[in-house]
């Protein structure tokens, strides 16, 4: 068996097609993803809203609003506004030049002036509008409180300021670390690379069936049993593909700096199981029927790509859509399971779902191997017309 494993490794290591699809293709695609998504991430990063504030001296809102504005304009991670304090004339000039996205006039109430021909900053204008509305609503509340409950006015003012400046509500992540929404594409990329191992698995089947290839015929008439031959080749191929997939994964993590560093040993274990699943899938497909190599290669590629499509490699929210309409598919789709296991490792504290995904992949691999073996086990063939 060791002899067979050694030679299988030698054959795989010299098979340029295998090396390309399992190692270089995911790396190349990973680089492209990185370039594409880093631009998209940058464009989605929040920048402080440039605003001009014109404060009328002695106006009732001047003091409380300016305190809030200063808080929101403080430089740092949570800076919301980039404020220019100026007079009305200067503010209008800045708005005209599009140096600011709006002007806040602080008088009895706070009013917002925006330019109608600045469609590209509609989100920023909306932010300023919400800020204005919330402040004015708060001020109305304070006036009512002053009239009805004057003793509680100070407490109400403090609460209002806290709420508007963002201390009251703080965004918290329920995950282990904040996740870039595009990281899921990299999970799917790993899933794709692992399922591409099905090509190597397919060749195990083809090279052990006397009715499909001349090599298969030669092996069938040799003194080495089919169980020994297939088992050793499955082990050797799964380990070899695991090595290639791990290299691709490490490249993504350490060279491209994709945020998948959580629980590295478990991630590597996932790659091992996933590689085995890919190889088993190919072996199973290769064992069905007596169609030739080209046909089965086509089927294997199609199955891998459909699985990856359903897991969201091409359309990001596909897995979520399937979860809503046909959740069972996500439970048996190997690409979805692989992708989900990486997601679980990086997002959830608990390993429960990761364990379920891994167990399903192991059972799936075992089932595919068993099915494939039952179909290829020792037998005489009805015809050898496909041997090439």
């Amino acid at each position: 068996m060791l002899f067979n494993i050694q030679y299988t490794w030698r054959i795989l290591a010299r098979n340029k097609t295998n090396l390309f699809w399992i190692l270089f293709f995911p790396i190349t695609l990973g680089c492209l993803f990185k370039v594409a998504f880093s631009n998209m991430s940058t464009s989605e990063r929040f920048s402080p809203v440039p605003v001009a504030i014109v404060c009328e001296e002695g106006a009732p809102s001047a003091e409380p609003f300016c305190a809030i504005a200063e808080e929101l304009g403080k430089e740092g991670e949570n800076q919301m506004l980039a404020i220019t304090w100026c007079d009305e004339k200067e503010a209008m000039r800045l708005l005209k030049e599009k140096s600011v996205d709006g002007i806040l006039f602080v008088k009895d109430r706070v009013t917002l002036t925006v330019s109608s021909n600045m469609n590209n900053v509609q989100i920023n204008q909306s932010i300023l509008q919400i800020l204005t509305e919330r402040y004015n609503a708060g001020m109305a509340l304070l006036e009512d409180t002053a009239a009805l409950y004057p003793d509680r006015l100070a407490a109400a003012a403090e609460t209002l300021q806290t709420a508007i400046s963002g201390e009251f509500c703080r965004e918290i992540s329920y995950s282990r670390s904040p996740q870039d929404p595009y990281t899921q594409y990299f999970y799917n990329l790993i899933a794709m690379a692992c399922l591409f191992a099905s090509m190597a698995g397919l060749h195990i089947s083809l090279n052990n069936q006397g009715n499909l290839t001349a090599l298969g015929a030669r092996k069938n008439i040799s003194a080495t049993g089919k169980l020994t031959s297939i088992t050793s080749e499955l082990i050797a191929t799964a380990l070899f593909e695991f090595l290639l997939n791990t290299l691709a994964f490490l490249f993504l993590v350490f060279v491209l700096k994709v945020d998948m560093t959580a629980r590295l040993p478990l991630a590597v274990f996932s790659i091992l199981i996933s590689s085995l699943t890919g190889v088993s899938l190919g072996f199973f497909i290769g064992s069905i029927g007596n169609r030739g190599e080209d046909f089965k290669t086509g089927v294997s590629t199609a199955v891998s790509m459909v699985c990856c499509f359903l897991s969201g490699l091409m359309v990001g929210n596909m897995r979520i859509l399937i979860e809503e309409h046909a959740p069972f598919l996500n439970r048996i789709n190997p690409a979805a399971l692989i992708s989900d296991s990486f997601y679980c490792l990086n997002v959830y504290e608990s390993l429960e779902r990761y364990a379920a995904d891994s167990l399903t992949l192991i059972l799936l691999s075992a089932g595919l191997c068993l099915g494939g073996f039952l179909m290829t086990r020792r037998k005489r063939y009805a015809g050898l017309s496909n041997v090439s």
Partner: protein, 313 residues
């Protein structure tokens, strides 16, 4: 009598409507180079694949070394070497590695395997190409590699299925010499071909096949004796009157005499001194004789007479 190396009883193999082997029976004795001769599609390869338990068959029994051959008869397979019609080697492995790999499917001992592989390399004349990958070899060398992979483990029964297809004459001669050498070293050989010259050159016993049936079995001599035509005499003449042609046809053992294009072709069935008798007659009639040829019948003639068609039709 020794147990036959291969014994096939009443084998029937059908591909749907087509009967590929039709009550095919055969016995091959130890030490023979047994030739299966027949045109393409006559059932030679099907018979081989049935012997090897690769193909399922509808009826009959196959024994190899006295035991029934089954897909899991690994003890029997260990003693069989096969050279298939299609070259079956790994493109990713070198010549040496390919031979080592296929030898390793039979021989576990590393030292012994090394010795066997080196002997196979030498046998196939591949010493200079051991580090080459198969795709860099010529067609002839590739065939020789295919043979080396099939015989490296020193089997007692070697089956060669058309090993010289698409091979240059130099490689073909080397392959045929090698097969004879393997036989001298104690291996029994089954050799299939549709090249009668090859079969005539190396086989000690021959079976002629067509349409899945064995038409005749025997040594070359025995097969040639089976047919009426045992000598073909061709004589160049300027002219031959019809009366003289009739007179030649009336000579003993002559059963056909045709004259056309200044050539007299006489077919004789057995007998001795046929040529002298015809030449004496022509001399007596004062007819000038040019070139004279006398030819023994070939296996193709045997095939032609049995089936009514050429072997390579």
């Amino acid at each position: 009598m020794n147990t036959p190396v291969v014994k096939i009883d009443n084998l029937v193999k059908r591909y749907k409507e087509l009967v590929a082997l039709d009550h095919f029976s055969l016995e091959i004795a130890e030490g023979e180079i047994f030739g299966l001769l027949g045109p393409n599609g006559s059932g030679k390869t099907t018979a081989i694949n049935c012997i090897l338990s690769l193909l399922a068959y509808d009826k009959g029994r196959i024994e190899v070394f006295g035991k029934e051959m089954k897909p899991d008869s690994y003890d029997l397979k260990r003693r069989i070497g096969v050279v298939m019609q299609n070259v079956a080697v790994f493109d990713e492995l070198t010549v040496y590695e390919n031979i080592d790999y296929f030898c390793g499917l039979y021989v576990r001992d590393k030292q012994l395997r090394k010795q066997y592989v080196e002997e196979a390399v030498q046998f196939a004349g591949l010493e200079e190409f051991t580090k080459f990958q198969p795709k860099k070899l010529s067609g002839g060398l590739l065939r020789r590699l295919n043979i080396a992979c099939g015989i490296a483990h020193k089997p007692k029964l070697i089956i060669l299925d058309e090993p010289t297809v698409a091979v240059d004459p130099q490689s073909r001669n080397r392959i045929l010499e090698g097969i004879t050498k393997l036989n001298e070293n104690g291996a029994s050989i089954i050799y299939t071909s549709h090249y009668m010259e090859e079969v005539e050159q190396i086989c000690t016993r021959i079976a002629i096949m067509d349409k899945g049936r064995i038409l005749a079995t025997g040594t070359q001599k025995e097969l040639k004796k089976m047919i009426k035509k045992s000598e073909i005499i061709t004589i160049e003449l300027i002219e031959l009157p019809e009366a003289d042609r009739q007179a030649i046809l009336a000579l003993p053992h002559v059963y056909q005499a045709d004259f056309s294009g200044h050539r007299l072709v006489v077919l004789c069935s057995g007998g001795k001194h046929n040529l002298i008798r015809i030449l004496n007659y022509l001399n007596e009639r004062d007819l000038s004789v040019g070139h004279v040829y006398s030819k023994q019948p070939t296996l193709n003639d045997v095939f032609l007479e049995i089936t009514g068609k050429e072997l390579r039709d």
